[in-house]
Subunit: 159 residues, 2 copies
């Protein structure tokens, strides 16, 4: 980034400001939503740099979850990865197209589609775990181990 959006108002001289200015002072960089977006962008760029098989972070999450629980319906997978029904559909469709998810209809419930890993994706899981760990590590690299734990804890607290 050439022109850093992270400019600060640290040096602002409150004494010399008119009351109206002080009242309307609002620093974008200090708002949690803005900061969350920037941090997410940074993580996404690190993730993309590692580029595991062209997977996106959400596709990665879906695969990890299925690997963890074995198999489940599409909507349930969405809930377990915090994606709504429309989002998880797209994610599952693309993963199926890549041959990383197998779909079959549930004989016990005609509404449901059972989703499971394929042989191809089963063989990838270990590598994906390692890649995932490296990505998290690189994202959190500016922080001490204690700070990393603090950050995760605080983010969970506001979720």
């Amino acid at each position: 980034m050439k022109e850093d959006a992270g400019k600060s108002k640290k040096g602002l001289n409150v004494e010399n400001m008119k009351l109206r200015d002080i009242e309307s002072d609002y620093v974008l960089e200090e708002q949690i939503g803005y900061v969350l977006r920037i941090a997410s962008q940074k993580h996404a760029s690190i993730f993309q740099k590692h580029s595991i098989d062209g997977l996106t972070p959400t596709q990665f999450s879906a695969l990890m979850r299925i690997a963890e629980i074995g198999e489940c319906s599409q909507n349930r997978l969405g809930r377990l990865t915090s994606m709504d029904v429309a989002t998880i559909k797209g994610v599952v469709d693309r993963l199926k197209k890549k041959g990383l998810l197998g779909l079959e209809s549930d004989p016990n419930d005609k509404r449901r589609t059972i989703i499971k890993l394929t042989e191809a994706s089963k063989n990838m899981i270990k590598n994906l775990h390692e890649a995932g760990r490296r990505i998290s590590e690189e994202t959190l690299e500016p922080l001490s181990p204690a700070e990393q734990a603090t950050l995760l804890g605080l983010l969970k607290k506001i979720s």
Copy 2:
């Protein structure tokens, strides 16, 4: 959310796990990318609940920045709000359509479009600042003031 994706592996009995299981242990909930996504979703839902004139968080950021700096080119606004050229174009187009941004071409540089607030958006800024503050407050409500500052600081550090 009914089936909370935030289930923990805290109670996992390491003693009883086979070595292979331990090696491949990877907890999605502990990965910074996943946690960032969930936190961003929570913030987005709080933002949307406050619903200031149908503005989205990104549109809001763009307006705040223009209000702060007066006027600038489209690409520069993108850089100052951390949006790439394609994203800022869409955001500016929609804000213009809503009558919240005025566009005129720069006489000194025929490539540039000068972007500024309209009378309508100038009159909204104060309300937007207040709404923004309430949204940040509600998002960070689970945290103490010290924790809020810590969270912002750590997020900036990894950005």
